[in-house]
Symmetry: C2
Subunit: 367 residues, 2 copies
């Protein structure tokens, strides 16, 4: 783990770079806004910690009504549970006996659930629970259009749920019905169509389960791009959005104006102005993820990113004054989740001053 790039009380311009900057006013606005948007729907927030990787942020979300957290990895679940998060869903399948043993052990300090889409996986989770002498909640993941993981809605999901419910070591936890690719479809009608189909698949499966005497404690899914649709469907009980707390350039392209404010930045310093018309900063794609597009410069639309190599970001000066050598720029990441995962510290700023430092405690927690 690297030392922090700042100290409390510093001015933002003094923060060493590249640094992961969190605008606390915007961040708290986003947490409040999501709570307010979900309140009338009856759907509860189970925020996705794959985005923030921080028990500190998880507890702030839960203080505003979130019922718990989602994670993708057992190692993330461990970091959250150790940091005081009492209710955690691993929102995908977990393969491997060592991982499942760790997950089962974690149920001693937190409520932990996991997903399955295969009878072999259910048997593996069952063996781990039995060996640990605990009972694990298992949700059935259904493929509602993403084409990645999950059994078909309807009878295949029901069969797997019955397999889970029949085990003395497991509890049937409900359905996982996340449509990942729908989050980033640009036209609202496309997102509406995709989630209508997802909700229909989930609704049908819930009904068929009920006919077999199985209730779904959780029907979970949704992300920042579609959560209002799932929350309004009457089927989904839990919303798994994560990016809403930070936002990024990709999600900002979904809706104008976006319902959330940009709170996450990578602070960078201009390290070279030697090539005419260019400004090169000390943050490349090792500091700011480019899998969903190059970063923007906050408040400087005349600076356009034209390339990111490992440690350099290259910006063309298209309009306005060129930034000076040594000047600091706030970059808006193309994609917030993997950007956070590159850093060891959040530098929380308010009114131009560093207010707090929080570790990205589950940074690199990938197994």
């Amino acid at each position: 783990m690297q030392p922090p790039p700042a100290e409390p009380g510093m001015r933002e311009e003094e923060v060493d770079t590249p640094a992961l900057l969190l605008d606390l006013d915007a961040f708290e606005h986003n947490l409040d806004r999501m709570a307010a948007l979900l309140e009338p729907t009856g759907a509860r927030l189970r925020a996705h910690a794959k985005t923030h990787k921080s028990p500190v942020i998880a507890r702030m979300q839960m203080a505003r009504g979130a019922v718990g957290q989602c994670v993708q990895k057992v190692a993330e679940a461990e970091v959250l549970a150790w940091g005081g998060v009492p209710d955690i869903l691993v929102s995908n399948e977990v393969a491997g006996a060592r991982k499942l043993a760790r997950l089962a052990a974690l149920t001693r300090i937190a409520r932990v659930a996991v997903c399955a889409d295969d009878p072999g996986q259910v048997a593996a989770v069952e063996a781990a629970a039995e060996a640990a002498g605990v009972r694990l909640d298992v949700l059935v993941e259904i493929d509602v259009g993403a084409g990645r993981c999950g059994v078909e809605p309807g009878p295949p999901a029901v069969a797997l749920a019955e397999r889970i419910a029949a085990s003395r070591h497991l509890r049937f936890g409900g359905l996982q019905a996340y449509h990942g690719s729908a989050q980033h479809r640009r036209a609202p009608a496309e997102r509406e169509g995709a989630i209508a189909a997802a909700a229909e698949g989930a609704r049908r499966t819930v009904e068929q389960l009920r006919q077999r005497g199985l209730e779904c404690p959780i029907v979970g899914g949704a992300g920042t791009g579609t959560f209002a649709l799932e929350a309004g469907s009457g089927v989904f009980t839990e919303i798994q959005a994560g990016s809403y707390a930070f936002m990024d350039a990709d999600y900002a392209r979904n809706e104008a104006p976006p319902p959330f404010r940009q709170s996450l930045f990578v602070l960078a310093t201009v390290m070279s102005r030697a090539v005419a018309g260019m400004a090169v900063v000390d943050a490349g794609h090792k500091a700011v993820a480019v899998d969903s597009g190059l970063p923007l410069v906050w408040g400087r639309p005349g600076l356009r990113c034209v390339g990111a190599s490992d440690e350099h970001g290259s910006f063309r000066v298209e309009d306005g004054e060129a930034p000076a050598l040594g000047e600091k720029l706030r970059l808006v990441p193309g994609h917030c989740d993997p950007t956070v995962d590159r850093h060891d510290w959040y530098v929380g700023v308010r009114n131009g001053r560093v207010e707090c430092l929080w570790p990205v405690a589950a940074r690199g927690a990938m197994f």
Copy 2:
């Protein structure tokens, strides 16, 4: 820092995933081969630690004749110096007084040099050296075609070199002449043309410096894609290749057969087979960098990566048998440097067994 995903003596199939796997036979072959290729040229290796981020690997390279290491970041220089590397070049500009103070402090335990492409930067390095009571080596970076950092070859470079040489607190260290974009041009003739032009710019500048009484202790540049050209130019004295030790899918497309073996892999586990014709593994782009293309599967050409999200890699089964749920696959990263930077541990394997665990000590060392 995360705990290691393996223990010495384990079989490769037992390693927890995703894990950064180093095939030690292939890796040692690559180190030996680079030493053998450079030996007759007279150019010395100053391997780039931005790739490996490990003092252990740096010392192995130096045991085979490398004169030292390159880094991009002061924090990387610190990790190397603390780990016993005696000679380090920061191969680009460093902006910011705090960073420069750390760099100056480091000269108490290692020889440290840095680059500049602006008189303001030279003044900043000078101030840091004076404050620390040390003398720092400063190289002039020239732009030999990459269009990123560096002054023009010839008179602008000479003027900056004279500014450095005139300082009581600095030493003129030579020229930094790296052509980054040339590394990945596919046609050998294109790489040859680019490096011929780069060498010509460097040669002209060296000559003009000599006329002003300034010798260049270092003329540095080159990467894995072009090093034979720089080494054979008679101008470059130091070769800054890094990826050659590991290789990746992108560099493998440069030359058939490549002069180096693939030694770096991300070991992943099949976590879902629920969607027909697909195998989903537990390694997405948080575990294997996709900035230079999606990963390949080692020894399984019939499995084609069709998507990488944060924590999932999706593979289509195009030919041959589908992998089983729980099966482990070696992924060949599209780009080795940022892939290494996602992980905390190298898992060194030989003959199917884990032989060693080395920390990626400068993982995330970005400022």
